[in-house]
């Protein structure tokens, strides 16, 4: 009686969910790894959620949960959302990958969309990502011009291909405009931890780095750079995931903005009209998913023009940031002259390009 199996309640919930859909309201769930107020990654996903609400008004109801750790807790949160009648659930961190697929198996009528992952074990799981490396190419170019110490710092989260793409893309383009540039990478093993991110930024600044990039979600590195500048330093940063315009015009001199709104609005619409299907979406500048935020007046006009030309070239498809010749760190050939990296080569990238110092943690 009371100890009915999970499947029974799942079936019941699926019935309720269908009932809800019949009343013309689509419930959309979001699972966030950080707080919606992080000013970065999660904030942008939440902006996407609000865009869904704005686009469909009364026809959608959105629910979300923030600060969900990437572990067993995420599986429970997703299950509860599915039980609450969600028709589609966006799980917005890499570490939710296995949990998303496990919950999807139990709720075949609920659609799941996992950000930045690659596992689609069931027909109701789709994955999506953005070509952040396109934005990295642009800020790498700006960084190469802006550094005076020729030391660029990079606060990296986890040594996964997505992050390594970003490091390589920004280093290649910084090196192109400044052959003497060096890049120091600090691995913090977290997506969101303001204290660790600030420590990493301060360590980099103390080592003479004057341009910092980050692949973490908080504004702490921006604040650390601002403090250094107030103490007479000259350090520049780039907004990450979100514009972080509070720190403009300096230290923040540009930003890579993830705009998930077009994708979320499109996919929720597909659920509404019944055309949703599994797949992998990897949009970038052409789709409007990766946007470079305002480049401030700290950046010389010529550099700004160069960056804008690159944005235009990537957007119209005439330039791919990973175009050969590109060598690996060990000197072997990654891409021959004129060769363009395939998506498979990008999503399995597990090496540094030539000129990088240090090793990817193993």
């Amino acid at each position: 009686m009371k100890l009915k199996s999970l499947l029974t309640s799942a079936a019941l919930a699926a019935g309720l969910a269908t009932g809800a859909a019949a009343q013309d309201t689509t419930t959309v769930g979001f699972v966030y790894v950080g707080p919606v107020g992080d000013g970065g990654w999660t904030y942008q996903h939440d902006q996407g959620r609000l865009a869904v609400e704005a686009a469909y008004g009364d026809k959608v109801e959105t629910i979300f949960q923030e600060n969900v750790p990437e572990g067993p807790d995420s599986e429970r949160v997703m299950t509860q959302m599915a039980l609450a009648g969600a028709d589609i659930i966006f799980t917005t961190s890499f570490g939710y990958m296995d949990a998303t697929n496990a919950v999807a198996a139990r709720f075949p009528d609920v659609k799941f969309e996992h950000a930045t992952g690659y596992k689609r074990e069931h027909p109701n799981v789709a994955t999506y990502d953005a070509r952040f490396y396109e934005g990295r190419a642009v800020i790498g170019t700006i960084a190469g011009h802006m550094t005076e110490t020729n030391k660029i710092g990079y606060i990296a989260s986890f040594p996964i291909p997505e992050v390594i793409q970003g490091i390589n893309s920004s280093f290649l383009h910084a090196q192109k405009v400044n052959p003497d540039v060096e890049m120091s990478v600090v691995w913090v093993y977290t997506w969101f931890d303001p204290a660790k991110e600030a420590d990493a930024a301060n360590a980099l600044i103390n080592n003479g780095v004057d341009v910092i990039m980050q692949h973490t979600d908080s504004t702490a590195p921006q604040a650390a750079a601002q403090a250094a500048n107030e103490a007479g330093g000259r350090v520049f940063t780039f907004g990450q995931a979100s514009d972080m315009s509070n720190f403009a015009p300096s230290p923040r001199i540009a930003s890579i903005i993830d705009d998930w709104a077009p994708y979320y609005v499109k996919r929720v619409g597909m659920v509404m009209d019944g055309t949703w299907e599994s797949g992998h979406s990897w949009g970038g500048m052409p789709e409007g998913e990766v946007v470079i935020g305002p480049i401030t007046e700290e950046v010389p006009a010529a550099v700004k023009a160069e960056a804008e030309a690159m944005i235009a070239a990537i957007t119209d498809g005439s330039y791919h940031p990973f175009t050969g010749p590109i060598m690996k760190q060990d000197g072997s050939v990654f891409l021959a002259e004129g060769e363009v990296a395939t998506d498979v080569q990008l999503v399995t990238m597990d090496f540094y390009v030539q000129g990088m110092t240090g090793e990817i943690p193993q």
């Binding site: 019941l12 570490g95 977290t190």
Partner: protein, 361 residues
Amino acid sequence: MIRLEKRPSPSKVWTYATPVLAVVLTMLAGGILFAILGKDPLEAIRTIFWDPLFHPQFSGFSRPQLLVKAGPLILIAIGLSMGFRAGIWNIGAEGQYIVGALAGAAAGLALYPSESVLIFPMMVIAGALGGWAWAMIPAILKVQFRTNEILVSLLLVYVAENLLASASVGWLRNPEGGGFPGSRSLSGWDASSNPELIAGTGMHWGVVAGFIAVIFAYVVMSRHLLGYHIQLAGQAPRAARFAGVNPSRLIIMCLGISGALAGLAGLFEVTGPAGQISIDFNAGYGFTAIIVAFLGRLNPIGILLAGMLMALTYIGGELAQFMLALPAAAIQAFQGMLLFFLLGVDVLSNYRIRIGARETA
């Protein structure tokens, strides 16, 4: 005038009544907090405390989840409580939990892909040994060099977190995982998996171990010489010395037991609910268990109840977050209030409140 008068011995009644009072006060203060945030306080409290247990739509899933969430908390808190009673403060259960999971997983994965039934028991032993060994570092340093076990055990948590990171991106990484961090799936490999023992109950080996630990601790503390020594050392260290309690042995025992239980909790978690070694696999159980131990008055039965209550606030808190759009920070503040009020009203068990002027002798 209100003043406090120390009781000759802690009040029995208040010792049992204060946790209940603390929960009630938390509900009141939490209700005010939720009201300020513009939510219906009654609905919020009901969502946190009632819906996970009795809501027709959710409870079928969340009731078993209470056990899943409470299991590791109880297992760890039981170990901690024995040390705390003796005045030995192991704050690093989180690290022992991680190292236990790592040791168990490594021992199992070394034999991958064997299907021997002995693998899981061996991993359990390795997990307990891993946690025990990690706790032996502060224990031996304390015995030999009189270092402070609070600091040493706490700082070793950060060392363990880095070990975990290096394991998941390096030496335990799934060779077939396409370069992504994380070990092979332990829950997906039959020989190492710790599944639900009865479908739909949430009961897995870790929960069973938690219950066994409760009984074990109850027997040791009330019937065994070790329990007597622990209580004596905590209440009257000098008297304990005269009674023949060897302080070094007690430190080694208490830290060893709590480390081994934390290691076990980690192993059961990594082979069951978590399923694999991953960078963020530790979810703070080791720290939350400290709250559970105190909420349960360091008493085995109390810890059992406190673990369930804590699990309830977690699961109910999650429900409240997306059903009522309460911010996560409000839920954390709510959980924090619980410990705050518990420690606050603790004064009632040790002191008597007197209203009126002090009598002059």
